[in-house]
Symmetry: C2
Subunit: 354 residues, 2 copies
C-alpha cells in the first residue's frame, strides 16, 4: 500500500521498543511509571522516546482500558463572560489534578447537547461536566443509568434528583435585588426577563413576582418586558418600559448585559442614573465595576463553583459509589452606585389602566 493520504504516522510504543531493544510491554511500564523496571532499561527507553519524539496516543490508551485523563465540558455559550470565567476556573482546577479538558460549545443549540454527551462519554472522557441553562433531560437520565461520572453546574435551582449538581441561591439573589429596590422606596420596578427557554429566566421572574407580593405591591404586567439575555433585547425592553404612560423608577435586568443596555437608553434620553432611574443587573461581570455609575448586581461565586464541581467529579470518578451530592452556594448582592431612592417629586401613583 502506498503511503497515500490517510493520517500521518508517528512513532509508536513498538518503535520505541525496537529502538531501545526491549519488549513493548516494558515501554508501557516505563510510560506508566511501574516499579519493576531496571533503572538502566528505563533510561534506555526514555532515551529512545526522546530520540523518536514519541508521544503517547491517548485514544489507544483509553481504549485499552486505561483512563483518558480527560474531562469533557459542555457549555452553552462562550460569548458570555460568565461562562468564560467558569470554564477558566474549571480548567485550572482540573490541571492541578493532571486532567485535560476538552470543551464543546453548543452555541445555543440545545439539541447538540445530547450529541456531545454521547460522543464524549463513549470513550473520549473519564468524566463530564455540564454548564447548561436547562432543566432535566433524557440524556442525564441515561448518564445516570450508565453510572457515568458527571456533574452539573448551573445558575438555577430546578433539576432532577439524581444528578450531582453545583448551583447557587440564584432565586434568592434576584429576590435580594428586589428587596433592596423596594426598601429604597421604589414602587414601580421594571423587569427585563431572560431568555424564555432558560430556567434561570423563569426563576428570576418568579423572584420578582414573589418580592412584589411579599411587600404588598401590585404587579403591573406592563412592567415586565421580555428579553433574551442579549444587549439588543435589553435595549428594546428598556425603550418599551420608558415609553409607558407611567414609566418605572427602577429597572431590574435579568442579567448585566441587558442592564448595560438600560444605561445606554437612559443616556440617549438624558436620564441620569441613578438620579432619574435606578438600575440593577445580575451576574456581576467584571464590566459592572467599570460602568459609570458602577452597576449594582448579583454575584455568584464562580470560582468556588468551578473548584467544587471539579472536586466532586474527580471524586465520583475515583469511587463509583460516592453519594450524589448537591451543593448550593450563596449569591451576594453587590451594591454599587446605580441605585438610589426614587425622586421625591414623584407622586403617589394612580393606576389608570386596568
Amino acid at each position: 500500500m502506498t503511503e497515500k493520504s490517510g493520517k500521518p504516522r508517528s512513532a509508536t510504543i513498538k518503535d520505541v521498543a525496537r529502538e531501545a531493544n526491549v519488549s513493548y510491554a516494558t515501554v508501557s511500564r516505563v510510560l506508566n511509571d511501574y516499579q519493576h523496571v531496571r533503572p538502566d532499561k528505563r533510561q534506555r527507553v526514555l532515551a529512545a522516546m526522546e530520540r523518536l519524539g514519541y508521544s503517547v496516543n491517548l485514544q489507544a490508551r483509553s481504549l485499552a482500558g486505561g483512563h483518558s485523563q480527560v474531562i469533557g465540558l459542555i457549555v452553552h455559550d462562550l460569548g458570555n463572560p460568565y461562562t468564560a470565567q467558569v470554564v477558566q476556573s474549571i480548567d485550572e482546577a482540573l490541571a492541578h489534578a493532571e486532567y485535560e479538558l476538552v470543551l464543546h460549545t453548543t452555541h445555543g443549540h440545545h439539541h447538540k447537547e445530547a450529541i456531545y454527551v454521547d460522543i464524549l462519554t463513549h470513550g473520549m472522557v473519564d468524566g463530564l461536566m455540564m454548564l447548561i441553562p436547562l432543566g432535566p433531560t433524557t440524556y442525564l437520565q441515561q448518564l445516570h443509568k450508565r453510572r457515568f461520572p458527571y456533574v452539573i453546574v448551573c445558575d438555577h435551582q430546578q433539576f432532577d434528583d439524581f444528578s450531582p449538581t453545583i448551583t447557587t441561591t440564584s432565586w434568592q439573589g434576584a429576590y435580594d435585588v428586589m428587596r433592596y429596590l423596594i426598601e429604597l422606596g421604589h414602587r414601580r420596578i421594571g423587569f427585563i426577563t431572560g431568555r424564555s427557554d432558560f430556567i434561570s429566566a423563569a426563576e428570576r421572574l418568579e423572584a420578582y413576582r414573589a418580592a412584589l407580593a411579599a411587600y404588598g405591591l401590585p404587579l403591573d404586567p406592563a412592567l415586565i418586558q421580555p428579553g433574551d439575555y442579549q444587549y439588543r433585547s435589553g435595549y428594546a425592553a428598556t425603550l418599551a418600559l420608558l415609553d409607558l404612560p407611567q414609566p418605572p423608577t427602577a429597572i431590574f435586568a435579568a442579567n448585566d448585559l441587558m442592564a448595560f443596555a438600560v444605561y445606554d437608553v437612559a443616556r440617549s434620553r438624558g436620564l441620569q442614573i441613578p438620579g432619574d432611574l435606578s438600575v440593577a443587573g445580575f451576574d456581576d461581570v467584571p464590566q459592572c465595576a467599570y460602568m459609570h455609575p458602577a452597576l449594582t448586581s448579583v454575584r455568584q461565586p464562580l470560582l468556588d463553583m468551578a473548584q467544587l464541581a471539579a472536586r466532586m467529579l474527580l471524586e465520583s470518578i475515583d469511587e463509583q459509589d460516592s453519594p450524589v451530592k448537591r451543593i448550593v452556594l450563596p449569591t451576594e448582592l453587590v451594591i454599587r452606585e446605580s441605585c438610589q431612592p426614587p425622586a421625591p417629586t414623584e407622586r403617589p401613583s394612580i393606576h389608570i389602566n386596568a
Copy 2:
C-alpha cells in the same frame, strides 16, 4: 473480574450485531453509510442500535484508521472577547462540515502549547487549528515535518515560512490609527503597548514608531507606556501618561480593553473625550460601540478569518499535498466618536526634556 470501578461499559458494535443477528462488519457498514447493505438488514441494525442505546466510540474508530472527524483548537485565552468570537465562528464553520471541535485553552501558559499539540495530534484529531500570540516554535516545525494538517490564525504577521496561516494586515491597522490621529492634528500621541511577549504588541508598537517617523514627528519615549492588554495595566499606563509634564492630546491603546481604562481615568479626572483627549483602541470588540463616546478602533474580519481557516484546514486534510497557503485579510479602521482634532488652545509644543 468483578465489575469494580473502572469505566462504565456501554453497548458496542458487537452487541448490536448480536442483537440484530448480523455480522459486526455489517453494523460497521451501516454506521458508515455503505451502499451494499440490504435495506431490511439496515433497518434491523438501526433498530438494534436504538434499542441498545448504541453510540459509536470515536476513539476506536480513529484508532482503526478511520478519521475522528474532530478538529483540535488551541487558544491562548478565552477571557478575551476577540478569542471567544473567533472560536465561535470556527465552531460554526466546522459544524457545517460535520466536524466536531475540541478546544484546549492554555490560559496564557505558553509551555502548555507544545503539550496540547502533542496530545491532540497523536490520535485525537484529524487536524489542528491554533490561535496563538507567538511566533515560530519548535512544535510547528514538528507538525510540518510530520505533515500533520494544521492552520495558524493570528493577529500578527511574523511567522515561519512553512505554516499555513491566516492573518490580517494588523501592522497596517495600527498604522492607520496613527495616521488618522496625526492627520487630525495630534502631535503628542501616547501609546499603551500590549503584552511584551506577544508579537502583536511589538508589531503595533513598531507601527506607532513608523507612523511618527513617516510624518516627521519626534518620538518621545515617555509617551510609550507598557501595558499587557489587560484593563488594569491600561489604567496605570494612562495615569502615567496624563501625569507627564506635557501630557498627550491623544492616546492609542494597543487593544480596546486598555482603551476602556483610558476612558475611566479620563472621567475620574474630569477630562472630556474627545474634547480634552482623543482615544483609539484595537480589536473592535462589541463593547466599543456601546461606549460613550463610542470608541474608534481597528476591526479584524474575525468571521472571515475563522471561515477561511476552517476551509483551509479541511482542504489540507482531504488532500495532503495542498500547497501551503497564507492568507492576509485587511483590517478596517472603524471611526466612531472618540477622536477629534486637539484643542486649539494648545500651543505649539516646546520640548524641554532631552
